[in-house]
Amino acid sequence: MIENRPFLNMAAHLVLILGVCIVALPVWVAFVASTHGPTAFMSGTIPMWPGPDLVKNYSQMLGAGVSTSGTPPVGVMMFNSLIMALSIAIGKIVISVLSAFAVVYFRFPFRGLAFWCIFITLMLPVEVRIVPTFQVVADLGMLNSYAGLSIPLIASATATFLFRQVFLTIPDELTEAARIDGAGPMKFFRDILLPLSRTNIAALFVILFIYGWNQYLWPLLITTSSDYYTIVAGIKRMADAVDGLPQWHLVMATAMLAMIPPVIVVVAMQRLFVKGLVETEK
């Protein structure tokens, strides 16, 4: 439906502006909080304009960290988060693209069963299986390690399913042409399938990177050494001040810093991301 009336245009813009405000306000408040001193947010009235301590707060977080709540400097936690998010995103993509390739292009016994087994794991996210998974990871000695942070989250039914759908849209004749051109299965996979799913891989990478970056419960559970704290779990630890008030100005500064990498990933990959989600022609 395409209407062209000034009133409707205004109404549409109003709704959009309202939506943006609702989304942006908390971010703004967080930013404002990160520029004030420690007492500003305890005084009863929340300031709405930036204060004088921006440089001081951020340099403290980037430098020394908050020793009272036992968190390392933000840099270390950001690095841990980055390793974890990248391992999860890349690991998920590698595994799911290979299993989708197997399920779509090979006729092996119990192929349907294999696919449905993968599919059923959709019903078992980390939160449901967290106790047994913790047990397994602990028994394998993977507590406080990058492997422990990422491997249990790598298996992905969603991504497998997505790649299966992508592969099903690739015409059979392309597969046959490649067979006649003498491309074996792995060569076909590398030369034809991967380049053709490039945009889908990019879109998935964006989603999975953010998924990995935002992991909260799992890192909180299996990291006890501050060397392996991730930023999202670190924020939680900082807010848990035991014998004093939470230092909101520092917590918010950390939160602002934690938002930067996902934003960079989204902005940098926006074009591929959109293409990967809407493109249908192969």
Binding site: P171, E173, E176, A177, A178, I180, D181, G182
Partner: protein, 335 residues
């Protein structure tokens, strides 16, 4: 280059359905053979069995003097042109042409040379660095043929390569394919459902129906002496008139004839012809016109020069040797 032999070839699908049965064809070195038939007649299945994309349930396929039943498609020394071109969308035209050669470990210089030759033949030189999506349908079809040519295979296999093109381009590409094949003298098998394409391209054509061969012959043999009522109605445009034998007076009698066939151009209008025709519709083609009508219960079509006089009732006559008689039970030709 090589001959291709199909020896009692059949295809039975996993469910037990038979797609093709008892096909025997000898294709000579350099011959252009066309498989033609309605959709579902098994012509594509047959081609795909030669290509190795479909397993062979019965009989054997030879390319040259080698039985290739169990040979991988890539090792059969054939090249195939697909209906939807099947170009690799993410590769440039040059990479599309080179891909098969690269996989075979052909030296770089040799690949360059062959791509150069093929692009000269097909006049696709200016597009070599474009992606397929930036090409028109006809250009894509050329690239698909180029991909076959660079391989210098023993045989070309065409699977309805012109079906996706518009009518005008189809006629032009048809001629190009014919000239190309004459020039390269590569054995070719070409599948189509378009009888006109089959007639114009073929050295010999094979008419298939229901997975069985109805007739093999040169286009003119098939046109002049169709082996069955099916072939008679399938080959030729406008289609041959098929009339119940009992409805035709003074038939040079055979007792077994079920249908009489007569080509529209073999019927002439005369004042005292034995067949009476009631005209129902006229189609102008420019040089001639098609006149559709009825004789008794049967529909009948004749072609007339565009300046011939018309009336609602025509009397038609024919030369006795222009009649084709078909058996009333088997539909086979009766002589």
């Amino acid at each position: 280059m090589a001959s291709i032999t199909l020896n009692n070839v059949g295809k039975i699908y996993a469910g037990g359905a038979r797609a093709v049965g008892g096909v025997n064809i000898d294709i000579a070195d350099g011959e252009f053979l066309v498989l033609v038939g309605p959709s579902g007649c098994g012509k594509s299945t047959l081609l795909r069995m030669v290509a190795g994309l479909e397993s062979i349930s019965e009989g054997e396929v030879r390319i040259g003097d080698r039985v290739v039943n169990e040979v991988e498609p890539a090792d059969r020394d054939i090249a195939m042109v697909f209906q939807n071109y099947a170009l690799y969308p993410h590769m440039s035209v040059r990479q599309n042409l080179a891909y098969g050669l690269k996989n075979r470990g052909t030296p770089k210089a040799e690949i360059e040379r062959r791509v150069g030759i093929a692009s000269d033949i097909l006049q696709i030189g200016p597009f070599l660095d474009r992606k397929p999506r930036a090409l028109s349908g006809g250009q894509r079809q050329r690239v698909a043929m180029g991909r076959a040519i660079v391989r210098e295979p023993a045989a070309f296999l065409f699977d309805e390569p012109l079906s996706n093109l518009d009518a005008k381009l189809r006629v032009a590409m048809r001629l190009e394919i014919k000239e190309l094949q004459k020039r390269l003298r590569t054995t070719s098998i070409y599948v189509t459902h378009d009888q006109l394409e089959a007639m114009t391209l073929a050295d010999r054509l094979v008419v298939l129906n229901g997975g069985q061969i109805e007739q093999i012959g040169t286009p003119l043999e098939v046109y002049r002496r169709p082996a069955s009522a099916f072939v008679a109605s399938f080959i030729g445009s406008p289609a041959m008139n098929l009339i119940e034998a009992s409805a035709v007076p003074h038939l040079p009698g055979t007792a077994h004839a079920g249908h009489v066939g007569i080509r529209p151009e073999d019927l002439t209008v005369t004042a005292d012809g034995p067949i009476q025709m009631t005209v129902m519709a006229v189609e102008e083609l420019g040089a001639q016109r098609l006149v559709h009508g009825r004789t008794g219960d049967a529909r009948i079509t004749i072609t007339l020069p565009s300046d011939a006089p018309l009336s609602d009732d025509l009397r038609l006559s024919y030369r006795p040797n222009a009649l084709h008689l078909f058996h009333k039970d088997t539909g086979k030709r009766v002589d």
